[in-house]
Symmetry: C3
Amino acid sequence: MALLDDDRLFPADGATRRIARSLYDGIKDLPIISPHGHTEPRWFAENEPFPDPAHLIVVPDHYIFRMLVSQGVGLAELGVSSADGSPVETDGRRIWRRFAENYYLFRGTPTRLWLDHTFQNLFDLDVRLSAETADETYDAIAEKLKTEAFRPRALFERFNVEAIATTESALDDLAYHRQIRDSGWQGRVLTTYRPDAVVDPDFAGFSDNLKTLGEITGCDTGTFVGYIEAHRRRRAFFRDHGATATDHGHPTARTANLSAADASALYDRVKDGAGSAEDRELFRAQMLTEMAKLSVEDGMVMQIHAGSFRNHSDAIFESFGRDKGFDIPQPTNYVAALKPLLDVCGLEKDFTLILFTLDETVFSRELAPLAGVYPCLRLGPPWWFFDSAEGMMRFREAVTETAGFYNTVGFNDDTRAFCSIPARHDVARRVDCAYLAGLVTTGRLAEDEAFEVAHDLTYRLAKEAYRL
Amino acid sequence: MALLDDDRLFPADGATRRIARSLYDGIKDLPIISPHGHTEPRWFAENEPFPDPAHLIVVPDHYIFRMLVSQGVGLAELGVSSADGSPVETDGRRIWRRFAENYYLFRGTPTRLWLDHTFQNLFDLDVRLSAETADETYDAIAEKLKTEAFRPRALFERFNVEAIATTESALDDLAYHRQIRDSGWQGRVLTTYRPDAVVDPDFAGFSDNLKTLGEITGCDTGTFVGYIEAHRRRRAFFRDHGATATDHGHPTARTANLSAADASALYDRVKDGAGSAEDRELFRAQMLTEMAKLSVEDGMVMQIHAGSFRNHSDAIFESFGRDKGFDIPQPTNYVAALKPLLDVCGLEKDFTLILFTLDETVFSRELAPLAGVYPCLRLGPPWWFFDSAEGMMRFREAVTETAGFYNTVGFNDDTRAFCSIPARHDVARRVDCAYLAGLVTTGRLAEDEAFEVAHDLTYRLAKEAYRL
Amino acid sequence: MALLDDDRLFPADGATRRIARSLYDGIKDLPIISPHGHTEPRWFAENEPFPDPAHLIVVPDHYIFRMLVSQGVGLAELGVSSADGSPVETDGRRIWRRFAENYYLFRGTPTRLWLDHTFQNLFDLDVRLSAETADETYDAIAEKLKTEAFRPRALFERFNVEAIATTESALDDLAYHRQIRDSGWQGRVLTTYRPDAVVDPDFAGFSDNLKTLGEITGCDTGTFVGYIEAHRRRRAFFRDHGATATDHGHPTARTANLSAADASALYDRVKDGAGSAEDRELFRAQMLTEMAKLSVEDGMVMQIHAGSFRNHSDAIFESFGRDKGFDIPQPTNYVAALKPLLDVCGLEKDFTLILFTLDETVFSRELAPLAGVYPCLRLGPPWWFFDSAEGMMRFREAVTETAGFYNTVGFNDDTRAFCSIPARHDVARRVDCAYLAGLVTTGRLAEDEAFEVAHDLTYRLAKEAYRL
């Protein structure tokens, strides 16, 4: 039994489907450009085999465990490590069985598409996952994971990845990236500068992080000037390890443009963990503008991922810590929020700022109009809960008419689920071809242009926007 | 002339339509589960004939009279009773003629679909309603309403209703429910605990209502502890009359988790009709959490219908009172609003909280992400203005990818328009089948799974979520 | 090569497309009613030839130059006049070449549809615009613009415009409108009363504008009573020049209903350019209600265009001034905002208030529910960034089920790009027919009714709503 329909995600209408298929045939084998994500550089540095199926596929994937939790399965039963030391399931097979018997919950979700793609194309499975097939699928995958062909570098090559960016804290020593570079292996793995731990006063350990930042850069992070210089040096260090971009995960998109004196005074209020909630939010806002100014200096592409209410459940945060599926989107404003930054850097030549949102309503109302006029702005692809067939289609429908295709930047998989990367890019390619085919059938785009745009969306725009 | 197209609401594409039709054929005759609505228990208790066509169909239906008002017809001309004693039209035939000559206004609306379904399938009409056909349709319907086959219980059975929930104030004596039970008739009519009148300090007569609540429960509602105990007893009384659920109609979804002392002090400020606007809103917020805690105790399913700005027109409210079509949705936040309640009860075993919204933007941004991780949360179907073909399709497209199907609860008709109940469920069934067929055609769901999901959405999920 | 597909914007499905085409054939040749827009009355008064292609098509069109700016082309390079006296490109051919070589940026945008329609149908071009075809298209258009057939009045007649409304400041002398009237030419060109310059305390020169208003009306604008009387007289003057409507471009939809004394005191605070930001916003709010009251008196149709954050980039505003593509939509509330005005005038007979938004989320949540009950309210068509195929389809899908068709007012082109007017109306007609065809195919509207609605949406509703 095939788990996948060859024409999946193409429009139902016959004529439109034929065009979509034709567009897709032209781009489906292009290399993967993955300019933003969360794979671990260690995998490619050490090239050790991946663990058992459950610990590769279920345990680290918040899309999977959050759905199971929503139907009453506990995180501990799924092997998710606890923060408070309480015991969790360690038997991969038992975890896999819990997952398998609840696989029907994923009907209609992108997770289901990604997993079936992975099961069929990577692991050669031809049975649908269920309680009945739990053991046979577990065994089949486990068997394959022991082979050379399923080690990280072999998969990287099999996936036809031309370049992949990981994301590291500003305090990371990037040793794995050096190890990859020094190994002689040709796979292109870049880091990305993610300074939340030293930019967000609400980040755990913020004050200590600032001290560490001072030590590793030789800058006096006791002063705002020294602190900014530390960023400047650290960004250079990241560029030496391939980075072309920075990334900023803030609760809001607020930016600020304080005078040097006010910024310095604000830094003094927050650097030791004090300062009001407004001070802390204002500091994050000011730092987005500071990062933009450094990008104007050093040419690093800036990304803002705004709008997640992190760790919504206190009880889960206390028991299991961060990133456990309880991050919830919230309304996010960009128009007033970005103005201070844009007034400073918005018209700068060669500055690129890529915006992401978890609030779809801003695509047509705010982000497309902004990106459709400010030369520095580009729109990132649909993010997180919107990295899905419907999310992508709504994105194109919402932004294209105002911002066109050329103010967007292709696809990001943004994932730590390494095996799902081909599946995720495939979904994006199919949906883009479906959208383009619809434009052709309805007389809004000539067919020859659609072929060119399909190639741009799949390959060229990502390379150019991220300067890869 | 047929008023209805047999393939209505199915996708235009031939292949997809065939699948939709096939799915629909599998579920169209399933019994109706109506777990939330506003039919009158008196109808089933007394089983008297319904009045004339206008007073059955036009006068009580806010969907109908608000559209006519929007085009300049007065509520009084439509027979809607006034609050100030001013005279209103009483002649059913005249009201019906006004309605009939304006029937073209409903083109493209769900009301038109519901009415044509009712006219054709219930009243055997084969002419489109218009000024020309007003009298013949009036006479035909009036004739039928006099027969035994059109009495409430006969219609209930003809509609194949397996269970229907009505909604009563916490102060209701539920006499009609006892009368139904004692009558020996087998129709299952349940009540639902709706305590707005004793929970919302802005509700007309709030202080007096608290006194009444104390009297009928034997509790001292002069204290917060006694007041909560009164709720506990009253909920038990409702359960004795079949209730499995409570329902809460609040202007916002705000919840709070005050200390016992603070909650008690707040109660003291608002119980006599005093307290600031913030106090009153905070009290409503606190009471949602109190109700959740009682649900954890007693197993009643909790529903929140949030986000309506009630009685928008002062003039209409003064002349005609509540529920006259001037309730308007407003932006509603759930992420921060529900956190206090969820921190208390969000991970409780066997607690179910069903959320409704009038702000569609929250489906993909807030409600699906919340319901896709908190085990207690379920999403109610599209409500009120969104109980429509487009509204339902947007709902599925917005929530399925993040929350799946199994965090939703099937359909609610939520109506007092008894005759429209089969039509409303039929629309929901058709749209769900259309959505599922689209998933099948685009390779996102296997056909055998679609049949199972269609059955779940039509029947099983509602029974399970509402514990029927 | 044809630039246009004859079936453009019709649904892909064959059966639905046939119905759409049939509906379109019934209305495509109806006269154009253009009740709101920004063409210049001078064109029709003087009837001089239009300038070169670039200065006709590129330089004045913010949709075009904002897209080019977003990809790094400077406004000065496009010939957009500067506010600070710095030099800009004046050579039409050079501007045209820059535009042509970037024409691919408009793929998938309404601008592309409008331009291709204009190129093919007005200028008889059959080559796609590009760097290669820049000169030949420039020459071909330039040649035609020199002929009598391309003078403003000839185009007006060729376009089959039955009536067009321009928009003038309350201080305008309307000399061109008199010149048109006195010329004996039969084209119907109306003015519209747009008082922002004397209503918005943040408008450049507000205080001086008030003095001018006093001088030209003979009223004492030093007092609120005199100021309102000046409006009353000025509105009469506009009606004498054909105006049937007023238009109000406010940052928000806020309205207020102050007592006469409070309104007068507020006017005294803001009239000389003082007053807080809240005072200025409150004054705009109060003035919407005052304008509504004057409309009740004099029968002028009132339009509110709310929600644009004007001149978002300080640098662009300083160098180039207003209306340079840097106006960005923002979230806009209507429910609480309009209540004060609606409590005063919402139920008035013969009062019409047409609402526009740049925040699509309010269509289903706020505007359709409001327009679906208040007799004075009507919904304007999708505005600005939403004047597009997707925007129009989303509009119909969002509002029809709640407000029907008859609380909408047909299409506005709202443009200063005269040559694009037929193209814009054609897009609206096609999308409406596509929407109606979908309703027919899915059994939501009978085919005979669809023909009637298509005619209403194209012609009748605009004439009636604007009292033309």
